[in-house]
Symmetry: C3
Subunit: 105 residues, 3 copies
């Protein structure tokens, strides 16, 4: 079963750096850097806003926990927003590709 | 358990306005305004297209239904596309941050 | 129950073409072309990068498998990344709109 992780970064460099490490550790098969996002948030009771870089990582359900935890370690923030979910449908070619990350190697 | 909501808006102002209300009502912790999306759709049997503003809201599974319903009320469209889903994985820091929205306060 | 599919394309034309066919076959109700994404990936053991066009398709859980498989057929790549998931929350208006794709017609 394939899986996705959404995670915004402060800039492209940190996004690319994390993506390359996760690829090297075979925890994701691909990162899609979506580009600039306008973030509006509440932090310690204060309303704030910032420009961040949104990223979607394609991975497999079998390594989703490990990939999310590792992304949390690699991320420049102390409290990153790393949000992963399992997918319910994918054509065989996608499943086989991403299955290469899990035990279906 | 964290959760995400995807919802496109007609413009940034309505997206920001809804985000600020949902933040104030502690139904989301952050909104990421992804920027312009090209929408192609079928409406009342007619093919149409429009430029909209895509937004991802970060929230918690315990308030996901309430946040989605409230977003439906706040949205300028009579039939908005508000699509929320629970996530399966997140590092502890993300869980604790978003847990602040639910009973894990 | 509503559902989403994320799928990047090599260009806007192929994205629009697939969207229009899926709309015509009532397998999706709307496509949001998110725009350019920077993709970093591993393919046959080689690290690579490319500019692609990210797309989110809004559909219904009852046709999610069919829509994902059909998207896999329509996609220009032999191994496309087609990743679909069921949503857990949506206001009534969204459910009724997307329900029109499934048996809730």
């Amino acid at each position: 079963m394939s899986a996705l992780i959404y995670c915004p970064f402060p800039d492209r460099e940190s996004a690319r750096s994390a993506a390359n490490i996760l690829l090297g550790e075979r925890l994701v098969a691909c990162a899609n850097i979506l580009g600039e996002v306008e973030s509006i948030f509440e932090w310690n009771g204060e309303r704030g806003s910032a420009t961040e870089i949104g990223v979607l990582f394609k991975t497999h359900a079998e390594v989703l926990d490990k990939a999310s935890a590792r992304l949390g370690e690699l991320h420049p923030y102390d409290t990153p927003a790393v949000m992963g979910w399992c997918c319910d449908a994918a054509p065989q070619a996608t499943r086989e590709w991403l299955g290469g990350l899990g035990s279906e190697k």
